[in-house]
């Protein structure tokens, strides 16, 4: 029962070279996907909280949008929505290609979907500038506050996921230690999430 390795008081000092790494069966679902799924539950609940807030506040106000506030550009944003959905689609195709070991084509398609995502972001930003010019700010009314909160929260996610995906896109083409299709999947899941949440928000904020 003696313990040769505990020389140090606080924490063991001896470092063991783990030549015998665990020989576990490959898990049916990779860690990245499980981690991303549980993270997406949190994200979904985050947006559910925002949606609830929108519905409750909205229901308490008779005139919507309130007097003196601009209406939202429904048509251009509908086009924008299509662009975002399309980027989700190309993302799916790129995964298919990557799984079939066609890295060049897959990478190109991933790049296209990232460009589409960037287009969506820029178009949304342009829309914000126009709305601000019309005098709709965060504090001009609770309507403006909710709009910028919900659309901004989504936009923030788009920016974050795009940044990580662009990094992954670089790594796909790297000569040493390139990212694999499996390694890319969690990030793609997050992109699907961002794409899938948008139509819900669009219907909620723009159409109703």
């Amino acid at each position: 029962m003696t313990n040769p390795s505990s020389q140090s008081v606080l924490f063991a000092a001896s470092e063991v070279s783990l030549t015998n790494r665990p020989k576990r069966a490959k898990p049916p679902v990779s860690s990245g996907v499980i981690g991303m799924l549980i993270f997406m539950v949190t994200e979904a609940m985050f947006f559910a909280g925002l949606i609830s807030a929108y519905m409750v506040i909205r229901s308490g106000i008779e005139e919507w949008p309130p007097w003196g506030q601009p209406r939202l550009p429904v048509e251009t944003t509908a086009f924008n929505t299509l662009v975002l959905l399309l980027s989700g689609l190309t993302m799916g195709f790129s995964r298919n290609l990557l799984q079939k070991q066609k890295f060049q084509e897959g990478r190109r398609l991933l790049g296209i979907s990232l460009l589409l995502g960037t287009f969506f972001l820029v178009a949304q930003g342009y829309e914000w500038v126009q709305l601000l010019n019309f005098g709709m700010t965060v504090s001009s009314s609770v309507y403006g506050g909710l709009f910028y909160l919900i659309i901004g929260a989504h936009g923030f996610h788009v920016v974050g996921v795009l940044a990580v995906l662009i990094h992954a896109w670089n790594r796909l083409g790297a000569s040493n230690n390139p990212i694999t299709a499996e390694g890319l999947l969690p990030l793609q899941l997050l992109w699907y999430f961002v794409v899938c949440v948008w139509p819900v928000l669009y219907v909620l904020v723009y159409l109703t």
Partner: protein, 569 residues
């Protein structure tokens, strides 16, 4: 996080078991054990702050208007700040980091037999964000106007309008600290779930996982699924405070009830988030010290699932008299009372585990049994408060306060001491002093009951919470009630003094204690099969698991325990 997720898939984190310098070993560690220590020690420091706050406001209640030794005068605003931050610290900066992040980090990889968390970098980031959040909270006490004083529930418009709460930056920093803290635990939680799912030692089936790991994982899943709306709410509250939106301000078209919904949607599952880890730890301790198999492993597990599921559908019972539809309240009465069923069954299982055992009352076992006893009181008094008609009388009274201290104190403090005394040999390679441990146990447990049992009677007498001085309420300003308050305060001081015994025991044992063998308690789970303390990488030879975690006193064996990793003959 996603980068690290990608890194794992490409096998990048395989090279981190090397000799490291002090900075990388203790300050910026990737080793889950060191990160766990960081969480536990930070949590204990925050517990000292929380305890100090409790001391200050209890002294004010017992001796109103007099200078509190070691603090000074407690004015009304400061009293509010003290109670608010006592609650916030004890739940978010003590219970969560010590029980979930601390022991979760320490126990999950060791108990399921893997070398580290699946995403060590996220783990490190999680602690760093947590540390920042703690610093932001401490900073909020020192800004102009003082710390936030609008109760830990932070109901707007009080919390959202500076003219109402008179603590402009204090309340903003408070919200910021809480939000950061949630993000930190989100990152940690991802690790816990994936590690328990995918990194188990070969041979470990679902039903071989120790209950402690199961319960921490269930708690984390509950946390992850419930925290989203509150993060949304915190963002909205922060915007209300700082950039002039009116989400929670009725005059601007907002709705204060909305915050209550978002807050309690998280706030109630949170109770089970901190409860489940302690229940799991206690299950492991009582089986070891009664040398018994856990009575109905599957039953206990399923009741935990049921508790978790039900915890999402009970939250509105905090709002029975807050103006939600009384018809809806009836539904929540039913669900709230129903949650007593799985918890009662779990309690029966634990107590049935003791039956026919060979019980050794070592310090960790005393803590575990006292947890069951104290939590029993907290649990049964919860039935009163789940009944909406009684909530009409008890809402925000000392009865509520005594009830949730009878749940949170056992969960947080008793659970923390149980776990620390039990795993101390594994953590530091030394044994704790048993006599001092027992003195500390009785010196904590008896005063604890003396503090909070009388508060039930104050609550029955109609005393309401968060009042710095009861002289404005003549029915409550009587000498009899004041004597009860003084008794509770004196008990608190006695209890705090006894904590010095623990601090002494802890640090002296850490450096000078008797050397601990690998498996001092003769327990079955995998962490006891490696050396004490475990090396970086945990196991020299990765264990293979052959059986469940609770094979004690198996018939036909010489020894009364059968470690999970010992191959059958």
């Amino acid at each position: 996080m996603s980068q690290a997720a990608a890194a794992v898939e490409t096998g990048i984190h395989a090279e981190h078991h090397e000799d490291l310098n002090f900075l990388h070993k203790y300050i910026l560690p990737l080793d889950h054990k060191i990160i766990a220590m960081q969480y536990i020690f930070t949590g204990m420091i925050m517990a000292i702050i929380g305890g100090y706050f409790a001391y200050a406001f209890r002294m004010q209640l017992a001796f109103p208007g007099e200078l509190v030794p070691g603090y000074g005068l407690v004015g009304p605003g400061e009293y509010n700040m003290l109670v608010t931050n006592h609650g916030t610290i004890m739940i978010f900066w003590v219970a969560m980091p010590v029980l979930i992040a601390g022991f979760g980090n320490y126990l999950i990889p060791l108990m399921i037999g893997c070398d580290d968390m699946v995403f060590p970098r996220i783990n490190r980031l999680s602690y760093q964000i947590f540390l920042v959040s703690a610093l932001v909270l401490i900073l909020s006490f020192f800004v102009k106007g003082g710390g936030f004083g609008g109760a830990w529930t932070a109901y707007p418009p009080l919390s959202s309008v500076a003219e109402y709460n008179l603590t402009d930056w204090g309340s903003s920093l408070w919200v910021l600290a809480v939000a950061l803290e949630f993000i930190s635990f989100l990152l940690g939680g991802i690790n816990f779930v994936t590690t328990a799912m995918n990194a188990r030692a070969p041979g470990m089936k679902m039903m071989d996982i120790p209950i402690a790991v199961w319960f921490i994982v269930i708690a984390v899943i509950l946390f992850m699924a419930s925290v989203g709306p509150l993060i949304a709410g915190a963002v909205m509250l922060f915007m209300d405070q700082r950039i002039g939106t009116t989400f929670f301000l009725p005059s601007g078209g907002g709705d204060p009830l909305l915050w209550e919904h978002l807050f309690w949607f998280f706030g109630h599952p949170e109770v089970y988030v901190v409860l489940l880890p302690t229940l799991g730890i206690v299950a492991d301790i009582i089986t070891v010290f009664s040398r018994k198999k856990l009575f109905g492993y599957k039953t206990v597990l399923y009741t935990a699932f049921a508790t978790g599921g039900l915890s999402f559908v009970v939250w509105a019972h905090h709002q029975f008299i807050a103006g939600i539809d009384p018809r809806m309240a009836n539904i929540f009465v039913v669900t709230t009372v129903l949650i007593s069923i799985p918890l009662a069954e779990m309690m029966f299982s634990y107590i049935a585990t003791l039956y026919g055992g060979s019980i050794e009352l070592k310090t960790p076992m005393l803590w575990a049994l006292s947890f069951l006893a104290a939590f029993l009181i907290g649990g049964v008094t919860g039935i009163y408060l789940g009944a909406s008609a009684l909530d009409v009388y008890f809402h925000d009274s000392y009865f509520v306060l005594a009830h949730f201290h009878y749940t949170f104190f056992p969960i947080t403090i008793i659970g923390m001491f149980a776990a620390l005394t039990f795993w101390f040999p594994k953590m530091f390679g030394r044994m704790m002093n048993e006599t001092l441990g027992k003195i500390h146990f009785w010196g904590t447990f008896i005063p604890f009951n003396c503090i909070f049992l009388p508060l039930f009677f104050l609550g029955l007498a109609g005393q309401h919470r968060r009042i710095y001085n009861y002289q404005h309420f003549p029915d409550l300003a009587t000498q009899e009630l004041q004597n009860i308050r003084i008794f509770a305060t004196v008990s608190l001081v006695v209890m705090l003094l006894f904590q010095l015994v623990f601090v002494y025991n802890f640090f002296v044992s850490m450096f000078k204690g008797e050397k601990a063998p690998d498996n001092p308690w003769r327990a079955n789970t995998l962490e006891w099969s490696t050396s004490s303390p475990p090396p970086h990488g945990n196991f020299k030879k990765l264990p293979t698991v052959y059986r469940g975690a609770y094979e004690y006193s198996t018939p036909g064996r010489e020894e009364d325990f059968w470690p999970q990793n010992v191959a059958p003959e």
